[in-house]
Symmetry: C2
Subunit: 211 residues, 2 copies
DNA sequence: CTAACGTTTGTCCAATCGGTCAAAAATTTG
DNA sequence: CAAATTTTTGACCGATTGGACAAACGTTAG
């Protein structure tokens, strides 16, 4: 008789299969949205039958929930790293770079998150108003300190963070549009380096010509 | 006798009911996505029965298509207005302002568009690679002219346009997150003015402190 | 071996989906 | 008025959906 524990005890096969399902679900959910995705699609992408998938996750929503929980931590990691020590301008620049790298390397995660927010964040609203807000407020205070010390120009730290999120995630969420507009020549792999160069200049000096 | 139009001749009732349906569909599609929305939802929001709705639009996709066609024109209008005459910096500033106003006044349109792009733009890909790319290329040339004339700093015009789209539309597409992070105090109606102030400064001067 | 347990599958179900259709109701036309 | 046309509705259909379930299969410990 196996003793029951509070946290679910899992066999090796369960661990592996659950990972397989989550990987497949990330692919499917991020391109079709939650309601636009079917269990069959996920099961096929994971290489198993639907009832078999439902053996590991009893409901479609459970998969999505597990995915979102993991996602948030990964997603906020770069902001957590924003540190008070070190040169402010350098800190911000590397935050932007890290976020852009995430857009390049984890576009599915970005789209999954965007999908959730777009539809009103029904499943993660508490996290936004709780954990996320706390973190952003904390980092906004750090940035405010830099402004008071004259290390960076005075602006609204919250909107500064928003603008970094927006500009970097754009290259994941709107990738199709970016590539379509840049065309076959400039829409290749180099687009992220071009974006990095542009964003660095934008956030550093803006557009006003130096005379 | 009412004046005839070139293609589909429509009665007064048809015109009105089609408008009613499109308005309802905009609401439903923009919050649930295409596959996440049902004809019944749209019909209910429009105050009519499903078969009655299908009398005006034979397929669910027809509604979405009509919506997207209209949307794109409205959506690109601000960029079309970006004009070669007038002070470059002023032109860019008012483009940003207009885009931000659209995010404030037409968030549903923005979300509908974002939903479509997020899912790979299956229905408007030709428009992106055609009409949109042409327009952006054209405006990018204008901006390049400004750069050559030393009116604004030299950067990548395409990524500049992307960054304007990203930062402004963020306030429509990610509105839930923005309000959650700003909290009850700063997340009210003033958030768009704060955003306008911040974006103006960002695009003008960047973050480097003026010494 | 066998018993126990973990895993997989085929079958099935109720609900919902997009869409059809004929007939009723309302409106317009002569 | 009545006839013709447009609009609305209830009933219905096949396909797909999320999910249940028991039986079969595989694996391992004694």
């Amino acid at each position: 008789m196996t003793t029951s524990t509070q946290a679910p005890r899992r066999t090796r096969i369960q661990q592996e299969k659950r990972e397989l399902i989550l990987e497949a679900a990330l692919e499917v959910f991020s391109t079709n949205g939650f309601r636009g995705s079917t269990i069959d699609q996920i099961a096929e992408a994971a290489g198993m039958s639907k009832p078999n998938l439902l053996y590991y996750f009893r409901r479609k929503e459970d998969i999505h929930e597990t995915l979102m929980e993991r996602l948030l931590e990964t997603w906020l990691a770069p902001l957590r790293e924003l540190d008070d020590i070190g040169d402010p301008m350098t800190e911000l620049r590397s935050y932007i770079r890290r976020k852009l790298e995430m857009a390049r390397d984890f576009p599915r995660e970005s789209r999954l998150f965007a999908n959730e927010i777009l539809q009103g964040a029904p499943r993660i609203m508490p996290l936004l108003a709780g954990e996320l807000k706390t973190l952003v407020d904390e980092k906004a205070a750090v940035i405010k300190g830099w402004m008071r010390a004259g290390k960076i120009a005075r602006t609204d730290p919250w909107h500064l963070i928003f603008s970094i999120w927006a500009t970097t995630q754009h290259y994941a969420d709107f990738d199709v549009q970016v590539r379509a507009v840049l065309g076959p020549n400039r829409g290749g792999d180099g687009r992220f380096e071009d974006a990095a160069r542009f964003l660095e200049q934008l956030f550093l000096d803006g557009l006003k010509p130096k005379n």
